[in-house]
């Protein structure tokens, strides 16, 4: 034996050395080692410091249940992963791992002073101690707690890795590739259906990897599975959660087991698997025992010691004592003995031991202490002995050893079963909850089903001890530093439900999800409360089963692919002409087109002046469009919109106001009747999908008798608004087949014809108050037609303008933007749009609500204009308005500013606001308190420019 490496055995490749570092020091192991086994082989017992008390901690388990040995693995800039479990980290050349939560070093942790003061850190400590003063929380307590407590540090640089993601479908998904899982997969595969077998470990085999007698079978079964076309075997893949109807999300680690320079392609892949049947074969996790000193490095699970010896060829100590409550501890001790590990003694609280086990131990010359319990562990950073006592209370007897193995029985791994809302049943034999019923097509096999014959044991988490509970330092939850006495304290303070005890003590929380602590916590609470375990309840297991990188969850959805960015067909032109953009829903829209050194204000002022004095061109393609077709089209629109539609002549347009059934404005837009049975609707950019869905709802579920159909045509058309006194002159040379004269083509009319040789639906509409046209052409021609209009426009001094200018121009005219000047509580009357409500119509969506008492009550907020006393002061949108600026705080707020701009046309600022009883306040001065000053403004009608509408005619 070199160091702690056994002379032979294990699945490691002793011809292939792997060099790595731990806390900066050079170490080595073999191919096939885990980080934990390689370090143990070199005698490393101390792996980390505990979460709260900074107590020295070693290895507890050999798999994902490990709560203590959390390490950070650094694979270069942006590739630092904290909180990895050392037993689950595959060793490779160049692996750089560091321990966590210690300052400055693992051996000398100054913060371990916490440990000495631990009497002051009981359960509920955070809740009790840091209640007040409130200000101290942010400045004093939180920074200190963050320093003291915690896991590894988050990476601070961008993750350069790529992550893959996919959906997958199969008839059978088997989670866990131990003997039971492999058998289930083989059986399912024989029927020919698609089978997925996934397992979190480096290779499939599960418990069989720690049992050389099964290796031949394992090799054969693996080969058989690999040869089947309908079977997909995914090792290094963790099922992180089970969701409705057998939707299992699993993360496959693709490159972390490889040296950095050999890692190519995505780092992880997220599998979103829909399975006909899910078979859970997740095994069971051995339970630790709760006794004084059970967290000293060197105290670990018996099954872990067996795995280290038989799978990795590593002895976890030179002289081991086994503390067993269960036959499996004896079996493991004997297996370890056979593998060449020196077992000094087996201590078992049970007085009666199965004769064949006792005999085998005697043959192996292992000292046996039936009826005894470990009552103390000596050693600080490593075990150097234990005290055992008859029934835990007799005279103590010291046994020399350098490792202690705990065999407290087994807990079936029911996490995914619980995610699936499967119920659990208490099993006395196991001393654990086992799966019971589920409404999913889901079943458990093997140990996680409670179906595993490994002998019998005593169900008891807390060992009897000479000290009273409140003085003991026996740990239940190693990761969260919860002691048995904390649970006692929680009960003493009145907590009865395990859900409350969990939150008060933090038992079973965080990344660990109670893998080793849950059942012991229940047993202790049960003991203190003198009530059976089943009366205390069980906490809920939540996904993820083990911590999961955000990268895999994002998959391809990062950076440029984070979400779609919709661009119009004219966007490239805007880009080439220096547009500054803003995002509207998923679209990006040109906001303004700065020239030279112009800022936004200067550019917008120029664009506004150009539209009012000459002509401006605007990309309105993002407007929602719906084609409404069918004999009942007019009847349908009449029912949907507030205003009458049946009388609208083909070729004419109408402003439509759409309410919800609650009577509030939810959308608006100008729509055209192209033919008796065909309308071209427009909606707001952001409302397109919502409006279509709402209309479909009424059509399908309320008025299914109407013969009318809706088709989204938003993306069919590019829309170019040409606005300004010279608009007609700009488009005239390009249009064919449409008489543009004011007589033949009045305001609010639509014509079909050609522009630049392309089919167009030409609207004469205006959102600026100027003579205006909106040119609709099939989307692929948008850019070409835009450029042609632009070329004509340039002859007339045209400017391209963006959404900001559009906003200013419409505000000058008092036109609302739904969602800006309305907020879901604004009725047509509130918005000053009472004229758009058909008084004679018997019904339309929202009509009945307009007669509700609150809607007709006086004093509602109404849309008004505001002119600041200082014409250069531009109010902030969203600013609150008060009537009396001198009233004490909190002031009575009577409204807020909805739209506010500097208007180049008016040479001053303008604003719109929703103000209580606003229309009765015309001429009043109101006040807008802002930091350091109060701005006063006069209430006016929300119409600042050309109230007669004379400019519409150019």
């Amino acid at each position: 034996m070199t160091g702690f490496r056994l002379a032979d055995g294990g699945r490691i490749d002793r011809r292939t050395k792997r060099n790595f570092t731990f806390d900066g020091k050079a170490r080595w192991g073999y191919a096939g080692d885990s980080l934990a086994s390689a370090l143990l082989a070199q005698g490393q017992m101390l792996f980390g410091r505990s979460f709260k008390y900074h107590r020295p901690r070693g290895i507890l388990g050999a798999g994902v249940e490990e709560p203590n040995a959390l390490v950070t693995v650094d694979r270069g800039p942006g590739r630092k992963t904290p909180n990895l479990r050392a037993p689950s980290v595959a060793l490779h050349d160049g692996l750089a791992a560091t321990s966590q939560n210690r300052f400055p070093t693992l051996k000398t942790d100054l913060i371990a002073v916490n440990n000495m003061l631990s009497a002051f850190f009981p359960a509920g400590f955070y809740n009790k101690t840091f209640m007040w003063p409130r200000a101290a929380w942010e400045k004093v307590y939180e920074p200190i707690i963050r320093r003291l407590a915690g896991l590894g540090d988050s990476p601070t640089t961008r993750d350069p890795d790529h992550y893959d993601a996919t959906y997958a479908h199969c008839e059978t998904l088997v989670v866990g590739a131990g003997p039971a899982g492999i058998a289930a997969a083989l059986e399912a595969a024989a029927s020919g259906g698609r089978v997925f077998l996934i397992d979190e470990q480096e290779e499939i085999g599960g418990g069989a990897l720690s049992d050389p007698a099964q290796w031949a079978w394992l090799a054969e079964a693996s080969a058989k599975l690999a040869a089947m076309d309908n079977v997909t075997v995914l090792p290094r893949t963790t099922a992180i959660g089970h969701y409705h109807q057998n939707f299992v999300v699993a993360a496959q680690r693709l490159t972390d087991h490889l040296p950095v320079d050999e890692a190519e392609g995505p780092r992880e892949k997220l599998w979103r698997i829909r399975a006909g049947e899910v078979v859970l074969a997740m095994g069971a996790i051995e339970r630790p025992l709760v006794f004084e000193g059970n967290d000293v490095p060197g105290v670990m699970l018996a099954s872990a010691a067996k795995t280290f010896a038989l799978r990795y060829g590593v002895a976890v100590g030179r002289k081991l004592v086994v503390m067993a409550l269960h036959d499996s501890g004896w079996h493991d001790a004997l297996a370890l003995h056979k593998a060449g590990v020196n077992i000094a003694a087996i201590v078992d609280l049970r007085r009666e031991i199965a004769p064949e086990l006792a005999e085998a131990a005697r043959d192996a010359r292992i000292a046996c202490y039936p009826g005894y319990a470990v009552t103390g562990v000596s050693g600080g950073q490593a075990v150097n002995g234990v005290t055992v006592a008859l029934a835990g209370v007799g005279k103590g007897q010291k046994l020399e050893c350098d490792a202690v193995l705990m065999a407290g029985g087994w807990t079936p791994t029911v996490h995914l079963w619980s995610h699936a809302k499967g119920t659990l049943r208490w099993d006395e034999n196991w001393g654990a909850y086992v799966p019971d019923k589920t409404h999913e097509n889901l079943r458990c096999v093997g140990a996680c089903a409670g179906d595993w014959d490994f002998g019998s044991g005593l169900v008891r988490g807390l060992l009897p001890a000479p000290k009273p509970l409140h003085e003991s330092k026996a740990f239940v939850d190693f990761q969260n530093d919860v002691k048995a006495r904390d649970i006692g304290l929680a009960v003493q303070e009145g907590f009865r439900s395990i859900e409350h005890i969990k939150r008060y003590t933090t038992n079973g929380m965080a990344t660990d999800q109670g893998k080793t602590s849950n059942l012991n916590g229940l047993q202790i609470a049960s003991g203190v409360l003198h009530r059976p375990v089943t009366d205390i309840g069980l906490t809920t297991f939540r996904p993820p089963y083990t911590p999961q990188s955000f990268g895999a969850i994002l998959g391809h959805h990062k950076e440029a692919l984070f979400q779609p960015l919709r661009k119009t067909g004219i966007d490239d032109w805007a880009d080439a002409h220096g547009a500054v953009y803003e995002n509207v829903a998923q679209w990006r829209r040109a906001r303004y087109f700065p020239q030279g050194s112009e800022d936004m204000d200067a550019a917008v002022a120029r664009e506004c002046r150009t539209v009012r004095s000459a002509v401006g061109i605007f990309d309105a393609s993002t407007l929602g469009k719906i084609e409404v077709v069918g004999p009942d089209a007019a009847e349908f629109l009449n029912r949907m919109y507030t205003n009458p539609w049946k009388s609208l002549e083909p070729g004419r347009c109408r402003y439509g106001l759409l309410l919800g059934e609650h009577g509030f404005i939810i959308d608006d837009g100008v729509s055209a009747r192209l033919a008796p049975d065909r309308f071209h609707l427009t909606t707001t950019t952001g409302g397109a999908a919502r409006v279509l869905n709402m209309m479909e709802d009424y059509l399908q579920t309320e008025w299914a008798d109407l013969d009318v159909w809706l088709t989204s045509t938003t993306e069919q058309w590019s829309v170019i608004a040409v606005q300004g006194p010279k608009a007609r002159r700009v488009i005239a040379p390009l249009v064919e087949g449409i008489d543009l004269s004011p007589e033949a083509f009045p305001h609010m009319a639509v014509r079909e014809g050609k522009i630049c040789g392309v089919d167009t639906r030409l609207f004469r509409v205006s959102f600026t108050g100027e003579l205006g046209f909106e040119v609709n052409v099939p989307a692929e021609y948008g850019r070409m037609v835009w450029e042609a209009i632009w070329a004509e426009g340039e002859k007339h001094g045209a400017a391209a303008y963006g959404t900001e200018t559009m906003h200013v121009l419409r505000a000058e005219k008092g036109f609302i933007i739904v969602g800006q000047d309305t907020d879901g509580t604004v009725t047509p009357d509130d918005a000053g749009l009472g004229w758009a409500v058909g008084k004679k119509k018997p019904d339309f969506v929202g009509k009945r609500s307009l007669a509700r008492p609150d809607i007709v009550a006086a004093g509602r907020k109404q849309l008004v204009g505001l002119l600041t006393d200082d014409p250069q002061a531009v109010l902030e949108e969203g600013a609150q308005i008060v009537a009396d600026p001198n009233q004490p705080v909190p002031m009575t707020m009577i409204g807020h500013v909805t739209s506010s701009y500097h208007s180049a046309t008016m040479g001053r600022s303008i604003a719109m606001a929703l103000v209580a009883g606003g229309r009765d306040r015309m001429g009043e001065t109101l006040h807008i308190p802002m930091p350091g000053k109060t701005i006063s403004a006069k209430v006016v009608a929300p119409m600042f420019y050309d109230p007669e509408g004379s400019r519409l005619n150019g």
Binding site: Y243, R274, H439, E696, R848, S849, R852
Partner: protein, 90 residues
């Protein structure tokens, strides 16, 4: 992610293709003007919110586009049945 059986497509499809549509069988009155304020409030805002069997509307928005009704258990999320709009309450 739920699998929802669309009664029009006659197959179970992934939840992401669907949009939830609130409680089912709340018909808009033929003539809302005949409703009292209390009746109208009931129609607009009052919902049953049961624990257990819930009649609700879904739309196969990214599939066939149809609204339909479903009975879902609000505790287990299990769909008992789905049926076409206009069919009697199940």
């Amino acid at each position: 992610m739920l699998l929802i059986h669309c009664p029009y497509c006659e197959e179970a499809r992934p939840e992401v293709e669907f949009a939830y549509g609130g409680e089912a069988h709340i018909a808009r009155p033929v003539d809302p003007s005949t409703y009292s304020d209390e009746q109208w409030e009931e129609f607009l805002y009052i919902r049953s919110n049961p624990r257990g069997r819930h009649h609700e509307r879904w739309r196969h928005a990214h599939g066939c586009g149809r609204f339909f009704n479903a009975v879902r258990d609000t505790v287990t999320d299990v769909f008992e049945t789905t049926y076409k709009a206009g069919e009697a309450r199940k």
